[in-house]
Amino acid sequence: MSDFLASLTQVQQWISSLAARYTVFFPTPHGEANYRFTAIGADDDVRFAPYRPTITPPVKLLVPAREELFRFQHKEDGDLLLSPSVDSSFRVIAGVRPCDLKGIFLMDLFFERGVADPYYLARRENTAIIGYACTTPCTDRVFCAAVDSLDHRQGADLFLTPLASGEILVEANTERGIGLLDSTDLPPCEDGPARKIGAIAARPETYGRSFDADVQSLSGIVEQYWDSPLWDKHTERCFSCGTCNLVCPTCYCFDVRDNLALDTVSGSRTRTWDGCMLPGFAQVAGGHNFRPQPAGRQRHRVKRKFEYLPTKYGHGPVCVGCGRCGRQCTVDIDIYDIVHDLIEGGKS
């Protein structure tokens, strides 16, 4: 829609100023080496530091670990009150990297299509997103370029690109994005597209880890494997702890639980994160488990990211290459290594 130019300081001050008006989440240092998307205050120091991907991706602000579906109350007169708990509060998520933006874009598809999910959609509709382009690989784990998420832009109300000049190109893609800029007085930028091309050209030629296969061919390659020793190879050390699911920008499977209040007549039904790597994920009443072995669960996870959901939704791999699952795995099982081996195995 419109492009503007700003200095880094102007952008950082502007994001701080937004926090005086709205709930603003921004990647904030956590401990010595990690970052988290945290609600910031107007006086907080906002810095676009070169950071490792946050512990959990920003999309988890839209699918919280525990979320109330509805509340219930049995009244004394025998009536039952049920009230849905939809969160429509406005928030801004700023500093979203392209991989995480792609994660949000994919999550939009998962929750919009089929039976629409009111909880996700209400939150998403009331969330403004300010994206931030990557110019150098944030860790040696990433493979965003290999799965086509490095240049993902769709879904951001505003997108910021650091230019070689030190300035920031501010692209407003929605009316809401323009609205967020109303307190600023940034000069319009007429040659935004050319400057963006320049910023992309200045990136390292090999950006993070790469696959020896086209992104379009990945689904077909993964589809060829069912009974393969590679699944066992990549689960020998697995504790089935589900960390890979919890930190994934495209994992959204959930469990549903009831909570009864101490008065025993009221409570809530909530959904909580679940993970397909956890042993009981596919177990039914009576004890039969449809995926009893870790290797079968790993196969399901990889196929869901690279075969099943890509085929169903038609937007390429449902892995954005952020490297979180491999980095945070206790025993260093990396989905990149698995897919890499599948590609290599298919050649022999």
Binding site: L69, F70, F72, H74, L80, L82, P84, S85, V86, S88, D108, F110, F111, G114, V115, A116, D117, P118, Y119, L121, A122, R124, E125, R176, W226, Y252, C253, F254, D255, V256, R257, D258, N259, L260, T264, G267, R269, R271, D274, C276, F281, A282, Q283, V284, A285, G286, H288, F290, R291, H300, K303, R304, E307, Y308, T311, K312
Partner: protein, 283 residues
């Protein structure tokens, strides 16, 4: 995204809030299974083979098969096995108590696949419960079908479900009911002993006009399907009703996924031609 167009609270209510159903009849069927007849605020409008999410507020929610045929009134029949936390609480409820109901969900059986055909039902254990929702409309209008055969097996005589129905169906013109137990375990039993697969080779199945509907434990499918294939029945003539863990019923929670399909929406009833090649479906 559409901004400000949708009433999400209303959508949430329509998607996740249960209707209140009153338990109007409870019957003890076996040591573990009880029959429940429920009265809903309005008809559920289900097809045979569909299921509903049943809940007790404060305890939890689970998918339960609907056991009655399609009906216009607001009654619903289910059989619930006492097997987990929720079903243990349900078994403690009395007539007049209430349950939460969401649904109906799933594909279900399409009677158009069965009209004019010889119909074979194969039910193993609890599989008779969902299959009954199809058996009832078939047995109600036998003239619209060819020969109807029901093979119903369970572990022992004490575990047999719907005995009165089985007896009644055996008297329907053109219908054959074969009742089996794996073992009598020293209980009185005047029918056959064996697995549901045992009578199949001797059944005179016309490979051109036979349609099979089956439901049972995962272990049953492989051998039954081998037998049916040996009788030259094609995968488009066989319908299976599968079970999976489910938490939402609307294709989101991920638990019921088998390869790329979701049992709650693509199934739980599948034409074998759609899932025969899937590694995770029949295991």
């Amino acid at each position: 995204m559409n901004q400000g167009q949708t009433d999400y609270a209303a959508l949430a209510a329509a998607t996740y809030l249960p209707a209140t159903a009153k338990i109007v009849e409870i019957r003890e069927m076996t040591a573990r299974e009880r029959y429940y007849r429920l009265e809903l605020p309005q008809p559920l409008g289900h097809r045979p083979g569909q299921f509903a999410m049943v809940s007790v507020l404060g305890v939890g929610e689970a998918p339960i098969s609907i056991s009655c045929g399609p009906r216009d009134d607001n009654q619903l029949e289910m059989v619930i096995r006492n097997v987990g936390r929720l079903t243990r609480v349900i078994h403690g409820l009395k007539e007049g108590d209430t349950l939460g109901i969401r649904g109906p969900y799933g594909s279900g059986f399409d009677l158009d696949h069965f009209y004019g055909k010889d119909v074979v039902f194969i039910a193993g254990g609890l599989g008779l419960v969902p299959l009954r929702s199809l058996i009832i409309p078939v047995m109600a209008e036998p003239s619209r079908f060819g020969a109807v055969t029901l093979v119903s097996g369970c572990r022992n005589p004490a575990e047999e479900l719907f005995r009165e129905d089985l007896k009644q169906w055996s008297q329907v013109p053109g219908a054959t009911v074969i009742r089996l137990v794996d073992a009598t375990e020293n209980m009185p039993w005047k029918f056959d002993v064996g697995l549901v697969i045992d009578p199949l080779p001797k059944l005179p199945l016309d490979p051109v006009k036979t349609v099979v509907a089956m439901c049972g434990p995962p272990v049953m499918y492989k051998f039954v399907l081998m037998t049916l294939q040996a009788k030259n029945l094609g995968p488009e003539q066989i319908f299976v009703d599968l079970e999976r863990r489910m938490k939402c019923g609307v294709g989101k929670c991920g638990h019921c996924q088998m390869n790329h399909l979701y049992c709650c929406q693509d199934g739980p009833v599948f034409q074998l031609s759609r899932i025969g090649a899937l590694k995770e479906a029949l295991r």
